[in-house]
């Protein structure tokens, strides 16, 4: 089978790219291992809602159509939203088609799937950055009496034995899972490393409204000081609760969650060892939040929004007990379960083109994989902008990368049978 472009993955990124390729009359297919929005459908917990408000989902050619713009989608609603988008795009989808290998030859690319082989001039990797749970090495030292599961395996508290739970990681997933498990009557210890604290609403608006309006989400990858750090920053400690409440370490402490430092090791006696750095990671998060709010206030003043918005506000520092515990005996039966909410890594095991760095990430310049002309990456954190991994953010990246892709196809010797007319962007 032959086409000009193979797009791998039918989440928001693959569909947005399909929309732009269609606009540019570029022949393509979108391959999906499962159904549309597969990760959203199968690899997240039951109560999860998107961290972004409904209105913040402006995809190319589509956007929110409901009557609750400030609400947060449940996962079934997210899947339905992306299914409708696929219809709008009329994406040339091949679902239940798993890519097993991508190779580059002198002339083109070969995309091997469990349903046949595609040859194409360009490949867009839109498989997301959150494929495999990233579990720390210390996991291998956890006593076998303890059940362990990753954030992709966790569904709801009823799945867990009664008894204590250690949640490792306090970004969006870990904080929400800790909240839900503690409320189910199990006592939760939360191991806290570096995290990003933000209020859900600020001065009467959603924090992401401010970041969008002030242009913070539009900051470009080639304009930030340290793009490697920016791409590795943990997800905001946010939740899309229906009541709009803020989740942070103080709210978790208030319902009885016990905070400890980053899980640093498990010693020979089966005791978990926590870092003594809890106070500092909390101080860092508090200071960074204040910096963000200061910049929002400055922007609001410059933009004449001071009168329309509620008064500026500052939040209580994260409360840390005088001497947080450094050890937790995992052999005494107090902890029954450990949930790893320690982030994700992408899975490029099928990509047989030598473009991965030592950490297993694709080397790229704003999504253009320069070492392999015709290969593109889309939808990963801060790919081209701070918002690149948001549903709302992928459209601008897809527009720019599809323009680059179109001109790449145009420059190639005429082996494609298709007429290529790049649009101005």
């Amino acid at each position: 089978m032959r086409t000009a472009v193979v797009v791998i993955g039918a989440g928001q990124s693959g569909l947005a790219m399909s929309w732009w390729l269609a606009q540019r009359s570029i022949d393509h297919v979108v391959l999906e291992r499962g159904e549309i929005a597969n990760t959203w459908r199968t690899e997240r917990w039951d109560s999860l809602r998107l961290l972004t408000p409904n209105w913040l989902s402006r995809l190319p050619g589509y956007g929110y159509e409901g009557d609750d713009p400030d609400g947060f989608r449940t996962l079934p609603q997210t899947v339905a939203f992306l299914r409708r988008y696929a219809e709008v795009v009329a994406a040339p989808l091949r679902t239940h088609t798993t890519v097993t290998a991508v190779r580059r030859s002198a002339a083109d690319y070969e995309v091997v799937t469990d349903r046949g082989v595609w040859r194409c001039d360009a490949v867009v990797i839109a498989t997301g950055a959150f494929n495999r749970p990233s579990v720390p090495a210390v996991a291998s030292a956890i006593p076998h009496s303890i059940a362990t599961l990753s954030a992709t395996q966790y569904r709801n508290p009823e799945q867990l034995e009664p008894g204590g739970v250690l949640v490792v990681g306090a970004s969006a997933s870990g904080a929400q899972i800790a909240d839900e498990i503690q409320r189910s009557g199990r006592s939760v210890t939360l191991a806290v490393g570096e995290h990003v604290r933000v209020p859900r609403t600020y001065r009467g608006r959603d924090i992401l409204w401010w970041m969008d309006a002030a242009g913070i989400l539009d900051e470009r990858y080639d304009q930030v000081d340290d793009i490697i750090r920016a791409r590795n920053i943990a997800s905001f400690q946010l939740a899309g609760y229906p009541d709009g409440r803020t989740i942070d370490l103080n709210s978790l402490t208030a319902i009885g969650v016990k905070l400890v430092g980053r899980l640093a090791g498990v010693n020979g006696e089966g005791k978990a060892q926590f870092s003594g750095s809890l106070r500092n990671v909390c101080a860092l998060a508090d200071l960074k939040m204040t910096r963000l709010l200061n910049s929002i206030d400055e922007w609001a003043a410059q933009s004449g929004l001071d009168r329309q918005a509620a008064q500026p506000q500052r939040y209580a520092a994260t409360a840390v007990e005088e001497s947080p515990p450094l050890l937790l005996d995992l052999t005494r039966g107090r902890i029954k379960t450990i949930v790893w909410a320690t982030g994700f890594t992408p899975d490029y095991s099928w990509l047989h083109v030598p473009v991965l760095d030592a950490k297993g990430n694709v080397r790229h310049d704003g999504g253009v994989v320069s070492e392999a002309p015709g290969l593109y990456l889309l939808g990963t954190p801060f790919l081209r902008r701070r918002k690149s991994s948001l549903i709302d953010g992928v459209g601008d990246d897809a527009r720019e990368l599809s323009a680059h892709l179109a001109s790449y196809l145009h420059r190639r010797p005429l082996q494609s049978r298709f007429s290529l007319q790049p649009l101005d962007v």
Binding site: E194, G261, R262, A264, G265, N267, Q273, S275, G276, S277, N280, A283, L284, L287, T290, R291, S323, A358
Partner: protein, 188 residues
């Protein structure tokens, strides 16, 4: 940038360009980033010992300090010792203090903040029943370390707090004290 900083560039005596250059170079050649730090010690008498430091390994080669440094350590008279040097645990505090303070200067330079004075006092609690073996529930080491900085700099109080927080984030000795480390002691 204010007029004052244009006239007088921020100078905390830290070569930040070299540090950022090294970070970039070492990202590309991680082998050169592997250092070995060394010390050798000789027992003098009683609890008194003398540690000598002169060489280390890094950037793919043996390196030497400009001169040899020696550190006498002993225990105080209340421990029935002769007090010929600082107590080893105090040397640990010295390491933490120096590491964090170097970090404050480097981060300030990188953030274009002029320091005028930086002082800190450190205090670590310890229940000596641990080291005496009098109570096995008491650990040998510190039960906590408190560091208090006083910093005079051209920056807001929050920016100064952020300097100290970032310095902890990047400090080797802070990491060594707050996280476990495998220690192998052999006799040959």
């Amino acid at each position: 940038m204010t007029a004052a900083t244009i006239e007088k560039p921020v100078d905390n005596g830290v070569n930040v360009e070299a540090l950022f250059g090294a970070r970039e170079a070492l990202t590309k050649s991680p082998e050169a980033a592997k250092f070995k730090w060394r010390a050798s010690v000789k027992w003098v008498n009683g609890t008194h010992s003398r540690t000598t430091i002169d060489s280390f390994y890094g950037l793919g080669a043996e390196q030497k300090h400009k001169s040899q440094f020696t550190f006498d350590a002993d225990h105080p008279e209340v421990f029935a010792s002769e007090d010929k040097g600082a107590t080893p645990v105090e040397l640990v505090l010295a390491g933490l203090a120096s590491c964090l303070t170097a970090g404050v200067a480097a981060v300030a330079q990188a953030r274009n903040i002029q320091l005028r004075s930086v002082t800190a006092s450190l205090e670590a609690g310890m229940d000596i029943r641990g080291i005496l073996g009098a109570d096995t529930d008491v650990r040998n080491g510190f039960d906590g370390v408190k560091v208090t900085y006083h910093i005079d700099a051209d920056a807001s109080p929050d920016d100064i707090k952020a300097l100290v927080a970032q310095s902890q984030k990047r400090s080797a000795v802070y990491d060594i004290i707050t996280n476990p480390t495998n220690v192998t002691v052999e006799v040959k």
